[in-house]
Assembly symmetry: C2
Homo-oligomer: 387 residues x 2
């Protein structure tokens, strides 16, 4: 494992897993292809993943982290000595943190259909020799989990100590607990839901329409050109609003102006208010790191996810679950409100499962699980120790 | 006044004002131009307006209705005998309703900058002989109100019994009460706010960006071509989500599919869920009746509106108000939440004004003031009688 560059620093700096590397696994084969939920097959899937901490001799200390819609495998640490941006859950993964790398072997893999190293619509199809684009098989959360599950087997791990995820990551945890109940002992589901509500589907529809409407989208075959940069940025802007609480956005930006203390009164000026400038910036930044086709596929997977699909009830759906559950929602999260977590918790209890539930008080809305790591560390740490 | 086509029908059918006509007033002149808040002038403004009921001899029974962002002058009645769609507030205006046309003379004028008969960016500039497009003067809520106020004088009315409006209409009522305190005796402000919150500004920014990003926008000079139909529809889609409550959208659509009881699993299909189909329909319908330039101007006016601007406090801003106020919010309205109405009510009370306030319980979110007219009639009727 990499050394810790923070070792000699002030104690106030949280310990880091140090410098890490993204690795790539080639999973599946002609004899053992990935079977998509709706029937397609892929004989080879590349998965980008990172690991932190050490797998013990009994191979029973592994914790899998499922990232959310636009996350990636780089959940903790730095990619080089001069890297200034640690992984997206660095405050939650590392020595002494909830996902304590002194104790656990933490794995995070980029999702199937993604664009950060794992096979997705931007990858080259071995059969046609061309990029998949919109010919990539229709993708569900179950397909994403099938690949995670295969990666765990590939690493020689029979059973995970826990699977942890927020938002779309939490949906993966839920699917995993139902479809591979033997493979995990504990589940942590944060700011998530057993199915997306109509409002969430509606916002995803707007985002996709922004992408489809961009002349640069070219029905998904844009890899030799600039691509739907404007539409993808717009999709991110609207999604970003839904990740923040009304109070946090008000507190952070209010009606403050961007460039001066007076209105410009200019119809051509799009960034008069700070909140506008912030959203434009978020959109621009997103386009640099994300692929529009992946966005389209993964939001659809999110829309389609319904844990109770094919069952008479949600309680029926979770009846074979073996893992203990920790479920947490955030009081200011209006995209995945507490009521949805409660529905899940009720079903688990009805099915006689072990489940702890809490609604955390945090001002940051849906993004709380990525921002407010203090309460999360306090809660998840002890839960994993019990597991 | 027109006859009532419902006279011989079942008593259960609410009485209507009958067949009405939109009229046009030419206001202002070279000697008395409209002075915009930021300095521009217009020597002639056409206003489309309708009236219902009869102005009494003392001319003291007039009630002015201020419409919201995408409304128009056609607030009640039908435009012809075979017209199937009554005016947008027909359940609230008419014989025996809160705005009782047996008692009151009700006026509704299309807003300045609009696209339904009143001068706006799509109108021809008398000086250049060309349509204004984005050369139309920058518009504020105060400019809209200046035109309403002039229309009232034009109709020979010195003082209104009341001014009533919801959402952006409520903002007009507020501005009116401060800038022309002598001109109105009572104000009804529904689902509105003394200023737009950051979240509202954010959603408006997304809508405008959808329009600007449409190749058909042509910097606003699209009147000889198809115009930014896709972008304007997209703007409406995102706005429409914010008008509905999470619960009402869930109840109305949930996760129900549009065309079958099974997923299509087709990445090209944009309307898999009923909520998607509904939003697409709303977008399409909107494009048929609204102008993108007006949308851009009026959302900006909404963003900029801040009743306390130029004053030390909101209470200071309303200190010259003479009218009595009725303020109502809706418990499921997350675009103009109750807290904003309460801020207004506090300021009015602090300034020693007469104000009644209630939070109505209604599942329909921000749109409640247009949908759930029972409670509104019960509340506003008696308030106007007192006035």
């Amino acid at each position: 494992m990499p050394s810790n560059p923070h070792d000699e620093r002030d104690n106030a700096v949280p310990a880091s897993v140090g410098i890490v590397e993204t690795r790539f696994a080639r999973l599946f084969s002609d004899d053992h292809p990935l079977q998509f939920q709706i029937g397609a097959e892929l004989a080879s899937v590349t998965v980008a993943y990172e690991t932190y901490g050490t797998l013990n001799a009994n191979k029973n200390n592994a914790v899998y982290v499922c990232h959310a819609l636009t996350g990636d495998a780089h959940a903790a640490g730095l990619h080089s000595a001069d890297d200034e941006k640690p992984g997206w859950w660095d405050g939650f993964i590392g020595p002494g943190k909830a996902l304590d790398t002194n104790e656990y072997f933490v794995i995070c893999g980029n999702v199937l259909g993604g664009c950060q190293g794992t096979t997705g619509p931007g990858s080259v199809d071995a059969i046609s020799g061309k990029r998949f684009c919109l010919d990539f098989p229709f993708l569900t959360v179950s397909d994403i989990v099938s690949v995670h599950s295969e990666l765990v087997r590939h690493l020689g791990i029979k059973q995970l100590l826990a699977v942890v995820g927020g938002s779309l990551g939490g949906m993966q945890v839920l699917d995993w607990s139902v479809r591979f109940p033997d493979q995990l002992r504990a589940c942590v589901v944060l700011a998530s839901a057993p199915k997306l509500a109509a409002q969430g589907i509606a916002f995803n529809a707007v985002g996709r329409r922004a992408i489809y409407g961009d002349a640069g989208f070219l029905k998904g075959q844009y890899y030799d050109s600039e691509g739907p940069r404007y539409g993808l940025a717009l999709a991110r802007m609207v999604a970003h609003i839904t990740y923040l609480s009304e109070d946090s956005i008000e507190l952070k930006f209010g009606r403050r102006l961007q460039d001066s203390d007076r209105f410009a009164y200019d119809m051509q000026k799009e960034t008069e208010f700070q909140i506008e400038s912030y959203l434009h910036y978020q959109g621009k930044r997103f386009v640099q790191r994300f692929d529009a086709n992946s966005y389209v596929y993964l939001t659809r997977a999110m829309d389609y996810f319904d844990l109770s699909e094919g069952y008479e009830s949600l309680a029926e759906a979770v009846k074979n679950v073996q893992a203990r559950f920790l479920v947490a929602s955030y009081d200011t999260d209006w995209l995945f409100p507490t009521s949805q977590s409660k529905e899940l918790v009720s079903a688990l209890l009805q099915a006689g499962k072990h489940v702890s539930f809490t609604e955390l008080h945090c001002p940051f809305g849906h993004d709380s699980f990525l921002i407010d790591l203090g309460p999360l560390n306090e809660m998840v740490g002890p839960f994993l120790e019990q597991a």
